[in-house]
């Protein structure tokens, strides 16, 4: 019983980092109706920028965190300008494939600059686990949970209480109509992309600070975890993204406990498969319809 609760706690906290990754992913997907495979690699660029400055100049954790977010935002803007802004309506596949090309480009660039397989990453703070009775909670994991709650609440407020949020929801609802009411759709999309990459940058920093190391494979890891959490939670749904992340984290932790850590990723893929078969729209999303497909074509 103790193990069960401990695993659930760990899963909740790991899952909140997945939820954050999915949050950024779902924002891009909701606004663009296109998949950005370069989402994780953009985060990796920020992470590598942080570790580069850390290894070369011994920068403080706060500077590393700031660079991780700034690098992710800049890389995100680069991806948007190259893979999304120039592609006209109906070119969703072209955006996805070109974002795959940029993924490879960013990964190779990172390897050229920092060629070793693994680099150290500064921890968030001196890590003394918190004891809650028989249960152990890592402080840096707790920060992930708090960040996930704070950022998803902030995102909700942004979408429903601000002018920028109104513009994004208009684009999500119907891109042509958003143009017609006077939303500057291209600018708003770029803003959404930068925001999403920034959220991803925060998530990436928190995960790496907990792991205390980074490899060039981190981009792929972030894309895949974010994508799976988003699909489980429901495409384009903000509460769904967080919930999907938490579900994925908790099931991964339990699976790892019972079957060993080598099956952790296998469990994630199995969960995705089961979700696509049983609930193709995700936990909180609408099942895809002809209509949503049509919106995709217009976007």
């Amino acid at each position: 019983m103790t193990d069960f609760v401990q695993n659930t706690l760990d899963g909740l906290m790991i899952g909140s980092s997945y939820g954050l990754l999915a949050l950024g992913f779902t924002l891009i997907f909701g606004v663009m109706r296109r998949l950005n495979l370069s989402y994780g690699p953009s985060i990796m660029v920020g992470a590598y920028l942080g570790t580069f400055v850390y290894v070369q100049f011994g920068a403080s954790p706060i500077a590393v965190a700031a660079l991780a977010v700034a690098g992710a935002v800049l890389a995100g803007i680069y991806v948007e300008r190259l893979c999304f802004a120039p592609m006209g309506p109906g070119a969703g596949i072209a955006s996805m494939v070109s974002s795959f090309a940029i993924w490879m480009q960013l990964e190779q660039a990172a390897i050229l600059v920092l060629p070793r397989h693994t680099y150290p990453y500064p921890p968030l703070a001196a890590v003394a686990p918190l004891m809650l009775g028989p249960f152990m909670v890592r402080l840096d994991h707790l920060v992930m949970l708090v960040a996930a709650i704070a950022l998803s609440t902030g995102m909700h407020l942004l979408l429903y209480r601000t002018r920028f949020g109104l513009a994004l929801r208009a684009i999500i609802g119907n891109p042509v109509a958003a143009h017609l009411v006077g939303v500057n759709v291209r600018t708003a999309m770029l803003g959404a992309f930068a925001l999403a990459s920034g959220i991803g940058g925060i998530a990436g920093y928190l995960v790496l600070a907990a792991d205390q190391q980074v490899t060039s494979m981190f981009g792929m890891w972030a894309t895949i975890k974010g994508l799976i959490a988003m699909m489980i939670g429901g495409l384009g749904s903000i509460p769904g993204a967080v919930l999907g992340g938490l579900v994925l984290g908790i099931i991964e932790m339990h699976g790892q406990w019972y079957f060993g850590s080598q099956v952790r990723d296998l469990i994630a893929y199995f969960l995705l498969f089961a979700c696509l078969v049983l609930r193709p729209g995700g936990l909180l999303g609408d099942a895809p319809t002809r209509e949503t497909a049509a919106y995709g074509r217009r976007a």
Binding site: R163, L166, A167, R169, A170, I172, G173, N174, V176, A177, A178, H179, L180, V181, G182, V183, N184, V185, R186
Partner: protein, 239 residues
């Protein structure tokens, strides 16, 4: 007020507009008739800036609109009620109206205008917190009109507001169009329902296969034999 000359808009190699020229006078309703595929919606989308013309010009009170982004064209005072309404389905009626006023900064004025819309469209007032996607077709049409009016346009473009609506609802839509006309709104109306359009419009154009083929008053329209047969059905000659 609006002067369109030699407008050509193409989808790839196919020219949907093959040199369209027409004028819309201020303070009254101008109606564009034409069969499906004539290029009416293409013309509307080109005026609104969603589509870029290959050549030609669109001048609003002398200022060129071609080349401006859709957002800038809204800022110039042109609002389009699009074909099939295109309301924001996941937003409430009220939020749709707020989105219509997206470019305005005067909060008090926006609130006052929303109240004015509720008076003009009582059905929207009853459903102000309901999601627009759950409204009936007629209600969505009213909402689309109200949303366009929220930007306080100088020129209102309406693309087939009666499309897919029941006859009673069509009558209601035209009552609103007549109301707007009485208030002095300049309207450019695309319609296939020539009978209804004849009751409100003061000038008519007919478009066929991307070209303007008729330009005249309601009286001249009613006298034109070809139009009578095709659009008014008075001869009951063809099936």
């Amino acid at each position: 007020m609006l002067e369109i000359s030699d407008l050509v808009t193409a989808y790839g190699k196919i020219e949907a507009l093959k040199g369209v020229s027409l004028q819309i006078a201020g303070g009254r309703i101008t109606c564009l008739l034409g069969p499906n595929g004539a290029g009416k919606t293409t013309l509307m989308m080109t005026i609104a800036g969603i589509l870029q013309p290959r050549r030609g010009s669109i001048r609003l009170d002398g200022a060129e609109l071609v080349g401006l982004s859709p957002a800038r064209i809204v800022a110039q005072g042109v609002a389009l009620v699009p074909e099939n309404r295109l309301v924001f389905p996941q937003m409430s009626v009220r939020e749709n109206l707020l989105a219509g006023a997206y470019q305005r900064g005067d909060k008090a004025g926006i609130s006052a205008d929303i109240e004015r819309m509720y008076q003009r469209f009582p059905r929207l007032a009853e459903r102000r917190e309901q999601l627009a996607g759950t409204l009936s077709g007629g209600e969505q049409q009213m909402l689309a009109v109200a949303r366009a009016l929220m930007s306080r346009p100088r020129l209102l473009l309406m693309d087939e507001p009666s499309l897919g609506l029941a006859p009673l609802v069509v009558a209601e839509v035209f009552r609103i169009v007549a109301d707007l006309d009485r208030d002095g709104t300049t309207i450019f109306l695309v319609e296939q329902n020539a009978h209804m359009a004849l009751q409100v419009a003061r000038h008519f154009y007919l478009m066929e296969q991307g070209r303007v083929t008729f330009d005249g008053t309601p009286g001249e329209l009613a006298e034109d034999e070809v139009i009578q047969r095709a659009y008014l059905g008075t001869r009951r000659a063809t099936a």
